[in-house]
């Protein structure tokens, strides 16, 4: 693979996707310290919100230690060169949250929908584009449908005003060939001015490989997270990815030693559990289940005595999508009843 001279914008997820792994309990100081470390290392874009995006604070997804507003107010003014992005899932957050993020200096908004439901994003993408924000359409669980469907949905988001489209492997299910097929089709069929991005999870151990083939197929934005801090087995670990890209001669603009230090000195020490491909995280990838279900399934296991792996496989069989965290306790209760445990 030749990525020599290839330019890529890396986008750190540790303070958003990483919120899942921290049960949304990252402190303001931790957020600020990590963001400043990343800023100094040259990270161009850093995402900051509740794990489920703006307005995600809820019983269903977890109440965060601080509001989105408090996190953004702590991070945005502290940045020297990095821009801050925010995630928004229509159905959870609203245009009111979007306006709030814009007013606080968020420059990139990523409007996320399930990969077949792009048409719920029209008002949010439309407003963000109108306000002049860098506007991203983020198609989640992209492994669930063929490439042509992803393209069809991407075109809707472009019509609404998105200037970048993400193929998002929320379940960490994809193998490299699938990434190549999907990204190539998007690159070939969308206008040249529209950037293509890839967001991976490491549940099948494929995050680095998938991110590389995504770049080879034309993606110019790659999500990852320092020390991999993210849902499931985490996101593409950025310090590792930077080292790989440096060896390959691609240009990230990031200081490798500095990002290694942020990973080792700031992020790893605050992890509540090791972020690795353990049995349950592997099941997420294997069964094609939304990565943030991991800790919920483990809590249901502890409470109802049903193995997290069995719950996750059943959630995959039922074709659950992102946001259906409420199904986990519901299903565990039903499975416990069937087993005569309740």
């Amino acid at each position: 693979m030749n990525l020599k001279g290839n330019k890529v914008t890396l986008h750190d997820m540790s303070l958003r996707d990483g919120m899942h792994a921290k049960r949304h309990q990252i402190s303001l100081q931790e957020m600020k310290d990590i963001a400043c470390g990343l800023d100094a290392a040259g990270m161009p874009l850093i995402e900051v919100t509740h794990g489920d995006g703006l307005g995600g604070a809820s019983v269903n997804y977890g109440f965060p230690a601080h509001t989105d507003e408090e996190y953004l107010k702590a991070v945005v003014p502290a940045m020297q060169q990095a821009k801050v992005s925010a995630l928004l899932l229509p159905g959870i957050g609203t245009v009111d949250h979007l306006r709030m993020a814009h007013d606080l200096g968020v420059s990139t908004i990523r409007v996320a929908t399930h990969c077949t439901e792009a048409d719920v994003s029209q008002q949010h993408i439309g407003l963000a584009a109108k306000m002049g924000m860098d506007t991203v359409g983020f198609l989640m669980m992209a492994h669930m449908v063929p490439a042509e469907k992803i393209l069809e949905q991407a075109k809707l988001m472009v019509d609404y005003g998105a200037d970048c489209i993400y193929c998002t492997d929320s379940a960490g299910y994809m193998l490299p060939d699938e990434v190549t097929e999907k990204i190539s089709l998007l690159r070939a069929q969308l206008p040249a001015a529209v950037e293509i991005g890839f967001h991976g999870h490491h549940n099948m151990g494929m995050a680095i490989a998938n991110s590389l083939v995504a770049m080879e197929a034309g993606a110019t934005r790659i999500d990852g997270s320092v020390a991999g801090l993210g849902a499931g087995a985490g996101n593409t670990p950025l310090e590792v990815f930077c080292a790989v890209l440096q060896r390959m001669g691609a240009e990230t603009g990031i200081d490798l030693y500095k990002i290694m230090d942020v990973a080792e000195d700031l992020v790893v020490p605050m992890m509540d559990q090791p972020i690795r491909v353990d049995r349950d995280a592997l099941t997420l990838g294997y069964a094609g289940v939304y990565s943030s279900f991991l800790l919920f399934a483990q809590r249901a296991e502890a409470k109802y005595g049903i193995q997290a792996r069995d719950i996750l496989v059943e959630l995959g069989r039922r074709s659950t999508v992102g946001g259906q965290e409420d199904m986990i306790e519901d299903l565990a209760l039903t499975m416990a009843k069937e087993k005569g445990l309740r």
Binding site: V59, N60, P90, G91, T94, H114, T116, E117, D119, D330
Partner: protein, 312 residues
């Protein structure tokens, strides 16, 4: 049998057609007109074959017939955008308005919680909130009538095929209106609503989860009993409304997991979210009809003189 209250339905789409089928079985309401805007629409043709008068000129096309056809109630299944005008024109003619759009000019109506009050007060415009609201607000109320609820949160998961372009284009309206209903009618101090759209095939039944955070330690026995009573109340008009799991108690959290299967009249059974709207709207119309029939309330007299002056 008492005289039925004569009705018009505005909007011959999925909701309007399903409502028409249900209304043809009603002992209290008689559908007379279906109002549309496109003479070639399938919905108006369907209504004609079902023996209903139709107009393709919108509400203006039916105003001249209101008195002659003795219309007492209207159901608006169009959009928030035009509901205001529809309601004004029909209210002026003494016609009650049941609003199935998100316009919410009138008070929210969740039948087992506050319909009786609305009927007694002769509210001339009542709003049916949202499908998610109809499915979940009774549960929030079932908890809040036992003890104070600081926070109520609902998650509605609906099949992709069951939500139309109107809802999709303005999904924020769903979350805002439903959260408002959780507070105003459900009785939670703070409300939150989430909607998830799932494209699985075959389509999934509507699923709803209701979380309440009670101010004090929840009284498990009283809440469980209240929840079961409320399920029975809703089942009177939505037979496929089921408590799948719960109430679950975890500290101050009380959670109910629900499933809503439709009757499959015009809309498929999985579209319980649409069925619960039409069923609740029908129940609302019937309650007003019953009260009118009993003489407990009287519709305002028709004021024909004012229409002409108002029209231009």
């Amino acid at each position: 049998m008492a005289k039925k209250l004569r009705a018009i339905i505005i909007g011959p789409g999925n909701i309007g057609t399903d409502l028409l089928i249900k209304m043809q079985r009603s002992n209290w309401l008689e559908p007379v007109w279906m109002v549309g805007i496109d003479p070639d629409s399938d919905g108006l043709k369907r209504a004609q074959t079902m023996g209903i008068k139709t107009t393709s000129e919108g509400v203006d096309g039916v105003l001249a017939h209101i008195v002659a056809d003795d219309i007492g109630i209207a159901f608006d299944a169009t959009s928030a955008y035009i509901h205001g005008e529809n309601s004004r024109k029909l209210n002026e003619l003494g016609v009650l308005m049941v609003d199935l759009t998100p316009a919410a000019i009138g008070p929210y109506c969740i039948p087992p919680v506050n319909l009786a009050d609305h009927a007694r007060n002769l509210e001339m415009n009542v709003n049916m909130v949202t499908c998610g609201g109809q499915a979940t607000i009774p549960m929030v109320h079932a908890v809040s009538r036992v003890q104070a609820v600081d926070y109520g949160e609902i998650i509605a998961t609906v099949s992709s095929k069951s939500i139309g372009p109107g809802t999709r284009m303005n999904i924020d309206e769903f979350t805002r209106t439903t959260a408002g209903g959780v507070e105003k009618v459900g009785g939670a101090k703070q409300g939150k609503a989430i909607i998830v759209v799932n494209p699985a095939e075959p389509p999934l039944l509507m699923r709803d989860t209701v979380h309440c955070l009670t101010e004090q330690q929840p009284d498990e026995q009283a809440i469980t009993s209240s929840v079961h009573k409320m399920i029975t109340e809703v089942q009177k008009y939505v037979t496929g409304y089921r408590l799948v799991n719960g109430p679950v108690f975890d500290g101050n959290r009380v959670t109910m997991f629900l499933e809503v299967e439709g009757l499959g009249d015009y809309l498929p059974k999985y579209a319980g979210n649409l069925d619960i709207m039409t069923a609740a709207a029908l129940r609302t119309g019937e309650m007003f009809a019953e009260e009118i029939s009993k003489g407990a309330i009287t519709l305002p007299s028709r004021n024909e003189g004012r229409i002409e002056g108002d029209e231009k």
